[in-house]
């Protein structure tokens, strides 16, 4: 299989402009003749559904939530990047492009990233026009803050709830289109399969989560904006319902899965307190603008109250190791540094798995009020969860699974190798390489939905005019039957262990052997452990209740089943990538100082995996990464 990335010819900065001109257009009167199915309504899905509706396409948007305002984009706290250069501090489209490529450890596609940087400025304009109440200066102009991996202030924010405000903006635009009848909204419904007819994605199989009814929808194109797969680790900062089902079923139908091993472990999360814990909570990276990260220099000091440890006995390890970026070193690097400090026996809090994030210096310098204005809601959240007041004692933080850079393979037009299947936002692999920079996920989700997909989808649709398929075709009926069978199977194992318990077991394997640091022996062991657990799962998972009524345990069991198969692919990919890059850190491949060591000669490519069956060896396809603009370099934040 040849992977056609469809990158337009010409100089990097002209590619998107030329693509917009060469893409075929759908005549305004013809747009209503095309049915587009959008799955998911996070930042990517909601912005895409709204914009396609505005353009005149007939859109159906499907979510498993009760409302399109609940997707986990809403929990993003810190902000959204854009190359506005409002601070006059040397930012530009090119700098945002370069920072993102470098942040991704030179494993992302140049052309995609440049386009992302170009449209970033339009996103802020669009959001402001919709009424997103971004933070302002006293003069009424927009305020910015800094984020990891950048030396400019280009992050726009709305208190510590930026994701919420951006999603509500997209949800408003979507609500308007629903009210106007341009978008049909289907809630409490899960997409459980993608239907392929003559090699093209032509519809989806849905399961109504209230009645249990399984049915199909046909369309001219299917768009997946269903998010990432970090909950494969069980404990993650993602929402409890976040899952990989839609992208995984698409993968099983032929869509290639790219770079599954690139997962982001976020450095600043509230540490785990016990085995009962259901999720981990992120503390925004923006806190590192004013908070200083440290651990005691001496192991003996770890149990002492932090206030009693003298300044000279504290190791501000990020400032020490990375003086030019300091506490704003990128996420993968900060996470590994925290792990190192804790592995060295200098961690603090329960189990020694934590480091301090200390605001006392900033409170002294700026006053409590300024800190409260910047991070008030985050401090309140921390206080609610830990019962400790971060104004008085330093926060304790530890890394947690947060984001997945990998996802379905897409070309420059965001279409997967399965024609007619478009993948947007975190669900695709395209823009962040091996590590995503802070405040770039919101940027990518909205870029894809507002400004990229609406321009590229038409090019695919033009020749599809008048080629409708109906849901009574055998391909639809067969897919429906498979979905119904699977549900029946999950309900009838007669097993003894809950899906939640199996999910925890899987998460433990993934966190220990495919987490912040990986090696060949661990990954090999993980693969056989996952396979064994998966087989046991299908014989012994216990799902009570029926399939024709609301049944949350059944929904969970179906999602966990997909996590098993994906986990195996992540491990296979991690094992095949014999180098360290960004979030993928193979302990065999590190520099003397313990930094990630890439192998550009052999691994400067995108790994795109083809499904070959449960437990079978997946087939690797390589898309070479060609750098025309950027010179590959060792990433340094020192």
């Amino acid at each position: 299989m040849e992977l056609k990335s469809a990158i337009p010819p010409g100089p990097l900065a002209q590619k998107w402009t030329s693509a917009k001109f060469t893409n075929k257009l759908v005549n305004p009167a013809n747009k209503r003749k095309f049915d587009v199915i959008v799955v998911g309504a996070g930042l990517a899905g909601a912005s895409a559904a709204a914009t396609l509706g505005e353009l005149g396409y007939k859109v159906t948007c499907i979510v498993y939530h009760d409302s399109p305002r609940r997707a986990h984009s809403i929990a993003a706290q810190g902000g959204i990047n854009a190359a506005k250069n409002y601070q006059n501090d040397g930012d530009s489209v090119h700098r945002l492009f370069y920072d993102t490529i470098k942040g991704g450890d030179f494993r992302a596609r140049e052309a995609n990233v440049h386009r992302l940087a170009e449209v970033s400025v339009d996103i802020i304009d669009q959001c402001v026009a919709q009424g997103v109440p971004f933070a302002r200066e006293y003069g009424g102009m927009l305020d910015n803050r800094s984020f990891g991996g950048a030396q400019v202030s280009r992050t726009f924010y709305a208190r510590g709830q930026t994701g919420q405000q951006l999603l509500l903006g997209a949800y408003s635009a979507l609500s308007r289109q629903i009210g106007l009848g341009n978008v049909k909204m289907i809630t409490r419904t899960e997409v459980q399969d993608i239907v392929v007819v003559d090699g093209k994605a032509r519809g989806v199989v849905c399961r109504d989560l209230v009645s249990g009814k399984v049915y199909s929808l046909a369309g001219d194109a299917v768009v997946l904006g269903t998010g990432g797969y970090a909950p494969v680790f069980y404990l993650s900062t993602n929402a409890k319902y976040s899952n990989c089902t839609a992208i995984w079923r698409a993968h099983r139908r032929g869509a290639l899965f790219a770079n599954p091993c690139y997962t982001q472990i976020h450095p600043t999360c509230i540490p785990q307190t016990g085995d009962f814990q259901s999720k981990l909570t992120l503390m925004s990276e923006s806190l590192r603008n004013d908070g200083r990260v440290w651990v005691p220099k001496k192991q003996a000091d770890c149990a002492k109250p932090p206030g009693s440890i003298a300044e000279a006995d504290r190791d501000y390890y990020l400032e020490r190791k990375y003086p030019s970026y300091g506490n704003l070193a990128p996420r993968d690097i900060s996470s590994r540094a925290a792990k190192e400090a804790c592995d060295d026996g200098r961690g603090v809090g329960p189990g020694g798995r934590g480091v301090y994030l200390d605001f006392s210096e900033a409170i002294g310098r700026l006053g409590k009020n300024v800190i409260a204005e910047r991070y008030g809601n985050l401090f309140t959240m921390y206080h609610e969860i830990t019962d400790e007041n971060p104004y008085d004692v330093p926060m304790r933080i530890y890394p947690a699974a947060h984001y997945t850079m990998g996802g379905l393979w897409v070309d420059y037009n965001l279409m997967s190798n399965l024609e007619g299947l478009f993948v947007i936002g975190e669900a695709n692999f395209s823009d962040h390489g091996a590590n995503r920079l802070g405040a770039s996920a919101l940027m990518q989700g909205l870029a894809d939905g507002y400004f990229v997909l609406p321009y590229t989808i038409g090019n695919y649709l033009v020749p599809m005019m008048g080629k409708k398929v109906a849901t009574d075709r055998p391909e639809f009926k067969a897919a429906e039957a498979e979905v119904a069978d699977r549900t029946k199977k999950l309900l009838s194992t007669g097993g003894k262990k809950s899906a939640e318990a199996y999910w925890r077991d899987l998460g433990k394997i993934m966190w220990e052997k495919s987490g912040m640091a990986r090696d060949a022996a661990g990954l090999k062991a993980a693969r056989s452990e996952i396979a064994a657990l998966r087989e046991e799962y299908w014989k012994n998972v216990k799902v009570l209740g029926a399939g024709d009524e609301p049944n949350q345990a059944l929904e969970k069991a179906s999602r966990v089943a997909d996590f098993f198969e994906l986990a195996e692919l992540m491990v296979v990919d991690g094992l095949a990538r014999e180098e360290s890059a960004g979030g993928h850190f193979r302990t065999e491949h590190q520099t003397e100082e313990g930094e990630a060591k890439r192998n550009d000669e052999e691994f400067s490519y995108v790994s795109a995996w083809e499904w070959k069956g449960v437990g079978a060896e997946p087939q690797l396809h390589k898309e070479p990464l060609v750098y025309e603009e950027v010179k590959l370099a060792t990433r340094s934040y020192k």
Binding site: H65, A129, P133, G140, R159, Q165, V210
Partner: protein
Amino acid sequence: MNVKLIVWRQKNPSTPGSMKEYEAKNIPKEASFLEMLDIVNEELIEKNEEPIAFEHDCREGICGSCGMMINGKAHGGFRTATCQIHMRQFQDGDTIWVEPFRARAFPIIRDLIVDRTAMDSVMQSGGFISAPTGCAPDANAIPIPKDVAEYSMDAAECIGCGACVAQCPNGAGQLFTAAKVSHLGLLPQGQAERYVRADNMVTTMEEYFGGCSNFRECEAVCPKSISTDFIARLNRDYLKAQFLPKKPSGKFKNE
């Protein structure tokens, strides 16, 4: 710690439900309220009983999915989303009553899950600024005074959980609607549709929800501390809308 739970169980929308008693044993006080329910549910599965269905997702107090009446109050009266309540806020040996949100506009789907689509309907009738993608001027073209942006943000923080409706003796949707109308109506870019928006959203709201009679129970349970001042603002905009010139169709002349 050990607590006794008395929980509303209802199999589906058409089957009548009832209160059932459960023991929650050996719960760590650091556990969240929902994690306590997770533990109870795992034990129920062990005993071949169906787990208690409840809505939840982000568990960070922002998505607005979770919500239940705890001891008769929406989100337990802790002024936070249910997922942010922790067991240390209860005493060992407590009896805790857990019911779904109570409002005519929120029919029960199962156990503690209710249908809140009425709130989406209100939004679809006007909860937006009509600014299609691509038409926006530069983001700094209209300066917005910091205080205005902050005040708008105070209203925009609403997570759409429905606690305000559930707590209101009338099942009114005023605080929710007021939050949205104020968020957009306070901003310069929201002025063009300000009165049409208030008029349309209030009209839709009244189709589904009860009337407001200023009990202010909503404000007392709101996880985002949305102020009832916004309801006064909503009423002002709605009232003003009634005196603006309209066409015979009932629509505004500037539409």
